[in-house]
Amino acid sequence: MSTLVFPNDQFLPLVIEELQSAPGRTVTLPLYGYSMRPFLENGRDKGLLIAATDVKVGDAVLAEVGKDCYVLHRIVRIDSDRVTLRGDGNLACEYCLLKDIKAKALGFFRKGRTTLDRTDGLKWRVYSWWWMRLYPLRRYLLFLLYPHIPARFKKKQ
């Protein structure tokens, strides 16, 4: 078995169109990237998404944060129609408008399991509660979980 990789900027608009074409329809998508660590791991986990309706702070959403630039990150703040997003594994934020929030995660299939870790389930909610409150320590927690040399200490080429 092999993996077909499609560029996000071409593939995700189709996915979003599918989601919006039939209310209640969901898609299962493999997830890539490190920005939702520690809960979600690059290439290992999948997300179950549905078209976004009434999103709130704490939701993990698929958003178009720039022209053809999509992220699946967590909403950390909503000011009327302005939304601030931040990946759980990131220190920096993205900003977009409510209309740019395209889909919402209903849950995640993690570590190859076929049972869904629902975003309204206890595990995700407990994890979220702690991880959001530990934000001031995030820099250090991420370093402990994933030891690496931070970019700012790397020698310039």
Binding site: F11, T26, T28, P30
Partner: protein, 89 residues
């Protein structure tokens, strides 16, 4: 044999893929990709029962290929479709 229900061919970024498509969920983490000729045969076989014989004939009608090669290609294609579980005998 015939195609199982719930598998639709679509073209995404120039690739022909077959996606398991329930009414409620589309699973993009498990897709089957087809080359141009396989995609052509899949479309041709849509909604009808067919045999390897039919597929070979369609292939011969559409593409410039000799019969033994077509037969061989169809046999391996059908085997992979059966293995993937997207057609039923």
């Amino acid at each position: 044999m015939k195609q199982k229900e719930g598998f639709r061919l679509r073209t995404v970024c120039g690739e022909h893929i077959i996606v398991a498509e329930g009414l409620a969920n589309i699973d993009f983490s498990s897709i089957i990709s087809l080359n141009d000729s396989a995609a052509f045969l899949w479309e041709k076989a849509l909604g009808q029962t067919f045999t390897e014989e039919n597929l070979t004939q369609w292939l011969l009608d559409e593409y410039e290929v000799d019969e033994p090669t077509a037969r061989e290609d169809v046999a391996s294609l059908v085997a992979s479709w059966l293995q993937a579980g997207i057609v039923e005998p």
